[in-house]
């Protein structure tokens, strides 16, 4: 994500407005965590994309080489086969390497989404608490500027749903990207990875709204 948003850490901003306590405190921290997790996700996504790209490229060159081998094998089978075999082994090792990298990235992503899930649970907890305190309508005075805790929870839910679906997609890609049957399919995997179809463009907007509401961004 762009640098201009900066790292709104829970530490820097909440020290100043230490007046905020209770549910508001918790919500505000959650919002900051959302922001940081999403940043982290983006970084992971970039790393993963690099790994996935090299996987697809390796696969492509491998299949190209296979074609070349098939055509050349008839002419001088014994001479080239040893070199080709060595080359294949090297390529396979490289491929394995990249797959491991991608695996690591996805593992980290799983961790990120798990954390996101926790954030959502805690947000739901806050809402439940308010329902318990103030009855089904919730609190009369908004926690921050205007949003009810229901709205806060909804946006958290929205983000979590998007990311968990996207994670499923990433996991599928991880499974399949090294086995793409056609170059086209490989390309589709890559572009799925890069463009993250399940993270809608307004997820960014939702996050900004959340930050604005909780006072991380000046109004």
């Amino acid at each position: 994500m762009e640098g201009e948003s900066g790292d709104i850490t829970a530490s820097s901003s909440n020290r100043k407005c230490s007046a905020v306590t209770g549910s508001a405190r918790k919500t505000k921290d959650n919002a900051a965590d959302w922001h940081n997790l999403m940043l982290k996700w983006e970084r992971l996504n970039d790393d993963g994309f690099r790994a996935a790209t090299s996987i697809v490229n390796l696969r492509r060159s491998q299949s190209d080489r296979l074609l070349v081998d098939e055509s050349s094998s008839s002419s001088s089978p014994s001479l080239s086969s040893a070199a080709a075999a060595a080359q294949q082994v090297a390529a396979a090792a490289e491929l394995q390497d990249e797959c491991v990298k991608l695996q690591e990235v996805v593992d980290k992503m799983v961790a990120v989404v798990t954390k996101m899930g926790r954030l959502m649970t805690s947000q739901r907890g806050i809402r439940d608490l308010e329902e318990f305190q103030f009855g089904p309508e919730g609190r009369k005075v908004p926690l921050f500027h205007s949003w009810t805790s229901k709205q806060l929870e909804d946006s958290c839910h929205f983000l979590f749903a998007a990311f968990s679906q996207e994670l499923r997609l990433k996991q599928t890609i991880l499974q399949e990207v090294a086995h793409a049957a056609t170059p086209d399919l490989g390309l589709v995997y890559l572009s799925c990875w890069l463009h993250q179809p399940f993270i809608p463009p307004n997820s960014r907007l939702t996050l900004e709204a959340l930050l604005l509401e909780t006072g991380h961004r000046p109004l």
Binding site: Q165, R168, L169, T172, Q175, E176, T182, P183, D184, L185, L187, V188, Y189, L190, S191, C192, H195, Q196, P197, F198, P201
Partner: protein, 200 residues
Amino acid sequence: MSKPAVISLHQALRRSFVCLENSQKVWRSVLLECGPLMESLGNLAEQSAALSSVQISNTPLRDFPELEDRLRFKLSQATDTVLSKLNDKMSSLQSVRDSVSNQLSAVQQQFEQNSDSLDVIDVTERSAATPSVADMMEWLQDAERHYRQQFLRRKTLLQTLRVDDFSLLESAPKRWKSLDSAEDPVTDTLCKVSFFMESQ
């Protein structure tokens, strides 16, 4: 010694060539910035084409509902972004073109004002350091035409792109590059007039 009309024309030409030099720099830098944008445009087109050629329901991605639509939406959004950036670049190019055109018309206007006192001999007189007025006006015209042609070609290329025609989009970077013609009359011209410009 040269007539006063010729001298004033020389001054106007000198000014124009200075302006042309700057314009050329801006033009070059803008074109350099356009290169990567065109590349990514081509990439996006390639991805879209791949998406169209793959039957998602026959792949492991079949479990994801509306994946194709969502991805397509994302892709077209990215394409739009690139195109709007390119449009910004085009308007910088246009301003370069317009400034050169203005320079040319200024020189032409000055020439027309003095044309009564100038005969053909005057305008075709040239020396080792100073090209003739006719030559320099020709070069200025050629430069202006070059910018106009370049700009129109690039504009046509961009404006005739269609989001649904992937092959057109995919070939766009290549075609864009092919417009960077090897011979650049403006650079030649600036070389030819370098002595003239220094001989103030």
